[in-house]
């Protein structure tokens, strides 16, 4: 039986604390800028419903190709609006993005050991519920977003392979390479996911208990290796999607032309 100590937990926060002197604001700021730019650009492109396909290059915002002829009040509905919710929900519920978004956009906490911004402090003190209640309880369903993302990867690989075929013949342009790098980064991001790591073997307690579990241990160890850099893959693939889309946009608007190697 454990020895009980007296209850001394304070009811009000303690007064003394020093302020961090390092540049703790830098990384939440950089993330907010990069993610903010991505959100604005993605919204603009999703509603634009144009300049997303040039020959064999199809922007990842509009992949897979969906033929839509829906109209609402005279406006064509962009297929991107049907596609983007899937990758969006994958990223929004991703364990890495959750950390970055809570820090940069909810200041909860903005950085480690940094005091809550004043109005929020009073508002949230002792009221915080984390991911226990709506809306953030939805984060627990991340695995479903992963299943969708894994299906999307098949279609994105098909598009990346198409980027190497120009009018039915094998070829390679700058665009083909951009598509290849993008799909590789997206694959690394998707298959370093924590839910996948759990599914493949992390959920098991005894690895030596069966041949199947031994195999799962090996797979789990490989996914864990990728998973250590999950945050890096998350940011690299965000930027590569952006670059790929901007490249297709610039080609489609004839601002630049693709350089072909062969």
């Amino acid at each position: 039986m454990a020895i009980q100590a007296q209850k001394t937990t304070p009811d009000k926060p303690q007064p003394q604390r020093a302020t961090r002197k390092d540049n703790w604001w830098l990384s939440p700021l950089v993330f907010a800028l990069v993610f903010g730019f991505f959100a604005v650009w993605a919204t603009f492109r999703a509603f634009q419903n144009n300049y997303y396909e040039v020959g064999n290059y199809l922007s990842p915002f509009y992949a897979p190709t969906i033929q839509l002829s829906w109209k609402i009040m005279g406006f064509n509905i962009s297929p991107a609006l049907l596609i983007l919710p899937f990758p969006l929900s994958f990223r929004m519920t991703c364990y890495y993005y959750r950390k970055a978004l809570y820090r940069s956009f909810a200041a909860d906490p903005v950085a480690c050991a940094v005091k809550e911004p004043e109005p929020l402090y009073k508002l949230r003190w002792k009221k915080y519920t984390g991911e226990r209640v709506f809306p953030f309880v939805a984060m627990n369903f991340h695995r479903y977003a992963f299943y969708a993302a894994a299906l999307f990867m098949i279609m994105l690989w098909i598009d990346a392979i198409k980027a190497f075929f120009f009018e039915g013949r094998l070829g390679m342009g700058i665009g083909s390479l951009i598509f290849l790098v993008n799909v590789l980064l997206l694959t690394l991001y998707t298959f370093s996911c924590h839910s996948w790591r759990h599914l493949i073997g992390g959920g098991q307690d005894c690895y030596s208990c069966s041949a199947m579990n031994k195999t799962r241990y090996g797979l789990w160890a490989k996914v864990s290796f990728l998973n250590e850099r999950h945050g890096n893959w998350a940011m690299a693939s965000l930027i590569s999607v952006l670059v790929t889309d901007i490249y297709v946009y610039l080609l489609a608007t004839k601002v630049i032309t693709d350089i072909r190697f062969f």
């Binding site: 454990a2 001394t8 950390k99 909860d108 915080y128 030596s208």
Partner: protein, 268 residues
Amino acid sequence: MADTIILKVYRGDAEGGELHTYEVPKSPHMVVLDAIHHIQRNQEPSLACRWNCKAAKCGSCSAEINGMPRLMCKAQVDDYAGGEIIVTPMHTFPIIKDLVTDVSWNYRVSSKIPPLVPKPEYADKPFNLQQIDVDRVQEFRKCIECFLCQDVCHVLREHQRTDGFFGPRQMVKIASLEMHPMDNLNRREQLKNEGGVGFCNITKCCTEVCPEHIHITDNAIIPLKERVADDYFDPVQGLLRKIGIIKRERKQPLDSVPNEQTKIHRPV
């Protein structure tokens, strides 16, 4: 003249206090705890601090240095070259005196976590464990209970939700049992309810401050969240379990262990 450093150290108790400034001669490879000892020996014998090993292994000397939770015996003075060094007690726990805080809450919470309950087939027999089965758990055994992670966790530090969340250190402890191949207790119930794993929003500050470099968030809390999701947030898996397509071994329920302190209640 020998090099000196300027230290500002919090002096006070539950009634209040303030920072006092001290000048201390610098020596090679000096750590902040050395400077505190120098002040105790030569200037202020009444300065209270807790320490034991000076080797970053006992977890006693936790404090905050320039606002960041750290072990004083592991913080090189050279890391703060040029500036003054502010040393304050851990913010999350009630102060006793100067740099000493009352961390007993952590032990009370820890006592709510039932110890390993061996599977019936292994009870009273020696455990023969394979390395691959203990790989994960070994990392968690490195914990020195310095409670820096508990101190930095915003759920406890900023929101004072000690009523709902056990804190990262205890998540590490539960993970070491939940993932143990010989443990037979269903710990997910405690995790979801009283332990409050849902309070953690995986912002990773615990991992940033852990002096043992335990990947608290990636290797303990997130896998625990996924296990809780298996049981409580995955209707498809629930269905597949029901019709027998997914088989999972049944562990004994939490209330089967006689532990007076392990009561389930549901904080909002």
